[in-house]
Amino acid sequence: PALAATKPSYIVYLGGVGVSPEEAHRTAAESHYDLLGSVLGDREKARDAIFYSYMRNINGFAAGLEPEEAAAVAEHPAVVSVFPNRGRRLH
């Protein structure tokens, strides 16, 4: 929350999970840190920014990022899309 208070949050969608859920669980979070770390230039900073790693069916993560950081992540070849953590309403 302290991070989020100063940064907007985004969802980075990487597609589906190609290995077994158990295998994915072990590896996905680390690969998310690697990917975001490569963009931010600091793996620990990436670890702090990511608050969800989706890794069972969906491959992706949610993180607090500056808009320019989100734009840079979107350029990564492994990324399908980057979009804001939008709000919704009950109907």
Partner: protein, 660 residues
């Protein structure tokens, strides 16, 4: 819910369930597991009692996440509950408290929707004494699981955030739910930048049916949300139940709607005052007119019936404002835009909601005399009202602004004055000062219609466990009806004819949906080909597919996605749309009939008969559209085709937009 299942033919008016009921045929949805992405659940509600159910299925992988709330317990009915709050925390930027670290519903909405989809039977359910009956979910013997993704808004923030919704989709798929119900909406967005679209695409790929609300942004055109073709998108309409109350004044009796639990005593008339004439010293007449809290002068309204105008504050808050100022009753009159769309709300004082036209007459009377007097009668429950169903004015409408080639919404279901279970942590109006606590409450919205369809999907899953999400969706759509209870076309709330932009394929018809005859099936690869046709690049789709994927060399025309409804966009030259049906019944020969041609368009089905020698056979056909030379160009026009073997009616709505 009470009444809505009678309205859809699953039980008799006396509450008995006949042998031919869809519930009996589909074993009340046993073996199905329905997950609900919402504000959580009140586990102590009788709608989640597990008295009739055996042990939890071995293949269920969900959990009961109660580390911060040990009083929250799951059972054989409520088999799982989780909460996802990190996206919410990130958005509001504040530390969370323990009430936000539990799947316990402190709002009521999630309890209501989950009970509507899969709640157990509860006899003697009623809201404030109205609508008494046996409350059941659509799949009353299904197992249910709550995925809390919605929290109290902070400083006007939204309630549910995409990061949490995506986490909930992932958990629900992994836990092993069969149907996901999600009554949340936001403006439509590009599919791969929309958490509900992404989550539901993965769900459908895993064999999970996803049902979402169309949203409450109607009646303007193009307001429908959750429009991805792999989602079953649900609009809202009325049942045949109403809660009429009357305003009596100046030898006039105006009918409105109310669910007030209290009513005016005695036979004497009360002095009436327009709220606009009762502004508190520091407040404007505009504030007073809509009965904002604190805007009324107690000296002027004490003991009187106060007439408030809709808008500016929640409808149910106006009664509280009048009550605090000492008023005896409240009449809520519609503004011009709301017309005669009146809603039965659980007001905290004797109150009634009346139409704009009746409101004009009432205010004219009040302004004509210094001694205006009137009375509000107690509301009563009336069944068998006609016409019914009528489309709700708030229900979002097509066309689909992301993909005009896909008709949305897909179907309509009951979403007005729906009675279902409620949270013990919230008052029935949802307002913080409403200290009443009720086991059942009425709610109105596409949030309420969505879980009705989720419950029906659960029944189909029980009866046909091997059917794909697209087949289940097709069964619900092609058996839906465009006719009301008097076999007349379904109307809008303005009592003009509704169109498929309001109700999609029509009103759900559960019994027929269990035995649709033919289904329009769609595989995950079909959806990928469809996304290719929209211009998504193969690299993105390969990432989604988790395996090598190549867009077809001969690109699919988006019109040819094997959707149960058919939309042709910008028709100029003659066009043919391809469809593929699978026989899910016994051997039969089906004949196509164009039951209604869109105005100015000639429709031909080729071949006009399809012979199926066994169950599971698949046949292709084409629907050709040509603009009639003699006809003037029109905008959107609507029609329908039906395949029938004499026993089944497999209907597809046609929507055509001609060019020019």
């Amino acid at each position: 819910t009470t009444r809505s299942w009678q309205f859809m033919g699953l039980e008799r008016a006396d509450g008995e369930v006949p042998q031919w009921s869809a519930w009996e045929v589909a074993r009340y949805g046993e073996d199905a597991i329905i997950g609900n992405l919402d504000s959580g659940v009140w586990p102590e509600s009788l709608s989640f009692n597990d008295g009739e159910l055996g042990p939890i299925p071995d293949n269920w992988k969900g959990i009961c996440q109660n580390e911060h709330d040990k009083t929250f317990q799951c059972n054989s009915k409520l088999v799982g509950a989780r909460y996802f709050n990190k996206g919410y925390a990130a958005a509001i930027g504040l530390p969370l408290n323990d009430t936000q670290k539990t799947p316990r519903d402190d709002n009521g909405h999630g309890t209501h929707t989950l009970a509507t989809a899969g709640g157990s039977a509860v006899r003697g359910a009623a809201a404030f004494g109205y609508g008494n009956g046996t409350a059941r979910g659509g799949s009353p013997r299904a197992r249910v699981a709550a995925y809390r993704v919605c929290y109290p808004p902070v400083n006007g923030s939204d309630e549910c955030y995409d990061a949490d919704i995506l986490a909930a989709f992932e958990a629900a798929i992994a836990d092993g739910v069969h149907v996901i119900s999600a009554s949340v909406g936001a403006d439509p967005n590009d599919y791969l930048e929309d958490a509900v679209a992404i989550g539901s695409l993965h769900a459908v790929k895993a064999g999970v049916t996803v049902v979402c609300s169309a949203s409450n942004y109607g009646p303007d055109p193009g307001t429908v949300t959750n429009v991805a073709p792999w989602i079953l998108t649900v609009a809202a309409s009325t049942t045949d139940r109403a809660f009429p109350a009357h305003v009596v004044f100046n030898r006039t009796r105006a009918e409105g709607q109310s669910l007030s639990a209290t009513w005016l005593r005695g036979r004497g008339f009360y002095l009436m005052i327009s709220a606009a004439d009762a502004a508190a010293p520091s407040r404007s007449p505009a504030d007073a007119q809509v009965c904002s809290l604190g805007a009324l002068d107690a000296e002027k309204v004490m003991g009187k019936i106060v007439v408030c105008v809709r808008g500016g504050s929640p409808r149910v808050e106006k009664g509280e404002a009048v009550s605090r100022a000492g008023g005896a009753g409240m009449i809520l009159v519609n503004d011009e835009a709301s017309g005669h769309d009146v809603i039965a709300d659980p007001h905290v004082i004797p109150a009634v909601h009346i139409s704009y036209a009746d409101g004009l007459a009432l205010l004219a009377y009040i302004n004509s005399t210094k001694d205006a007097r009137g009375f509000i009668t107690k509301a009563k429950t009336v069944l068998g009202t006609t016409p019914s169903p009528v489309m709700a004015s708030f229900s979002s409408q097509g066309p689909n602004t992301v993909n005009p080639e896909i008709l949305k919404p897909d179907v309509t279901a009951p979403g007005v004055s729906v009675i279902a279970a409620w949270s013990g942590a919230a008052g029935p109006t949802g307002l913080p000062y409403d200290l009443r606590r009720v086991a059942f409450n009425t709610q109105t919205g596409t949030s309420m219609s969505c879980p009705h369809v989720s419950g029906v999907a659960g029944l189909i899953k029980t009866l046909h466990p091997d059917w794909s999400p697209a087949a289940i969706k097709s069964a619900i759509m092609t058996t839906a009806t465009e006719l009301d209870s008097e076999l007349k076309p379904i109307l809008n709330s303005s009592l003009s004819p509704a169109t498929p932009f309001s109700y999609g394929a029509g009103h759900v018809f559960p019994h027929r949906a269990l035995d649709p005859g033919l289904v329009y099936d769609i595989t995950a690869d079909d959806y990928l080909d469809f996304l290719c046709s929209l211009g998504y690049n193969a690299t993105s789709l390969e990432l989604f597919n988790e395996a090598p994927y190549r867009c077809p060399d001969d690109p699919l025309d988006p019109l040819d996605l094997n959707y149960p409804s058919i939309t042709v966009y910008d028709l100029a030259e003659p066009a043919a749309v391809r469809r593929r049906v699978r026989n899910v019944g016994p051997p039969a020969t089906y004949t196509a009939t164009v039951v209604r041609e869109p105005e100015g368009v000639q429709v031909t089905v080729t071949p006009a008969t399809l012979a199926f020698e066994s169950t599971g056979e698949v046949r292709d056909f084409w629907v050709k559209f040509a603009v009639r030379d003699a006809a003037p160009a029109v905008d959107y026009a609507f029609g329908a085709i039906v395949w029938s073997d004499g026993n089944h009616q497999v209907r597809s709505p046609l929507v055509v937009k001609t060019q020019g």
